[in-house]
């Protein structure tokens, strides 16, 4: 297996994987989405909530807010040595605001120095005249399988496209049509020839094949080569997620081998 990075922007990482299989790709996909420990608010103690949203909904909204944390510092609550929760397995927050006005995630106060709210502008609720909200919250580390608020990333993969263009078979009109019809702008016409600008953009939709009446262009997939995408939906960056995924997969494989032997 060989990895080659294509690009990374706005927390979205794309890379090419060579000499692998769909089984392996799917293992990476599933682990990166639902096996990576991520911090999220779990328990909320409502002291006062006279806003239009019910307590449960406020708590559910708080749970979904992405938090910045140090993955090395936190243990799962069940695995921690303490009984009642400590700084190694929990992070505490408070929120207090009086109306009128909107309550944002930025109004939440973190009680630990190394835990922060990732986005300040998430609306939590809205307060009218004489309405008030006051609460305490506790965040824990858990995995996406447990609850989707702990999901680290959205991952996907596709086969690497192989696009074959037979220049002789295609008329000039057909070439122009291909450029027009491809939703991903894979082609361009240059010097009377249909050129592939970037085959990595291709989604294997085969619109171009159909447009040329199955004659002139073939689009097939390389079944041992993949394009993999990891988009972070937590505060972790995609490269760290990939690294952690490899570590977890390794651990799982060890466990199976241990059981066999």
């Amino acid at each position: 297996m060989e990895l080659e990075k294509i690009d990374e922007e706005d927390g979205k990482l794309r890379f090419v994987v060579k000499d692998s299989s769909p089984a392996m790709m799917n293992a990476i996909r599933r682990i990166s989405m639902n096996q990576i420990p991520v911090l999220a608010i779990e328990d909320v103690g409502i002291i006062e909530n006279s806003s239009a949203l019910f307590d449960e909904i406020v708590a559910q909204r708080l749970g979904q807010i992405p938090l910045v944390f140090d993955p090395k510092k936190f243990d799962a609550r069940e695995e921690c040595d303490c009984e009642e929760g400590c700084v190694n397995c929990e992070a505490k927050f408070t929120l207090q605001k009086e109306g009128p006005g909107k309550v944002y995630s930025g109004d939440i106060v973190s009680e630990s120095d190394d835990v922060e709210i990732l986005y300040d502008g998430i609306p939590i609720t809205e307060l009218d005249e004489n309405q008030e909200i006051e609460l305490e919250a506790t965040a824990i580390v858990s995995i996406g399988e447990d609850h989707s608020k702990h999901q680290a990333a959205i991952s996907s993969y596709q086969y690497y496209p192989i696009i074959d263009v037979d220049q002789e078979e295609l008329t000039d009109d057909e070439k122009e049509e291909c450029v027009e019809v491809c939703p991903r702008n894979v082609f361009e016409v240059d010097d009377g020839k249909l050129k592939i600008v970037d085959e990595k953009r291709c989604t294997l939709c085969k619109e171009c094949v159909q447009e040329t009446d199955f004659d002139g262009i073939t689009v097939t997939s390389d079944e041992e080569k993949f394009i993999f995408k990891i988009e972070s939906v937590s505060s972790l960056n995609p490269e760290d997620i990939l690294e952690k995924t490899a570590e977890i997969l390794d651990g799982k494989a060890e466990k199976v081998i241990g059981k066999l032997g």
């Binding site: 992405p66 502008g121 998430i122 809205e126 959205i154 939906v233």
Partner: protein, 64 residues
């Protein structure tokens, strides 16, 4: 009611993008272009923004 914190289908955090989206579309910008700009490229997130209506300020007038 109020914009969801995360996209209800894919789980991407989107709540913090709503106010910018609302402001810019109300100023006459094309909603498709604003969505592209905000990095909402999946149709689940896009439909969430296109179909959302803020109603919480009305609900706030009634007793819970």
């Amino acid at each position: 009611m109020i914009i969801p914190v995360r996209c209800i289908s894919c789980g991407k955090p989107v709540g913090h993008l709503w106010e910018e989206y609302k402001e810019r579309t109300e100023d006459g910008e094309d909603s498709g272009e604003v969505l592209d700009d905000l990095g909402l490229d999946r149709y689940c997130c896009r439909s969430l923004f296109l179909t959302h209506t803020d109603l919480i300020h009305r609900a706030a007038k009634f007793k819970k």
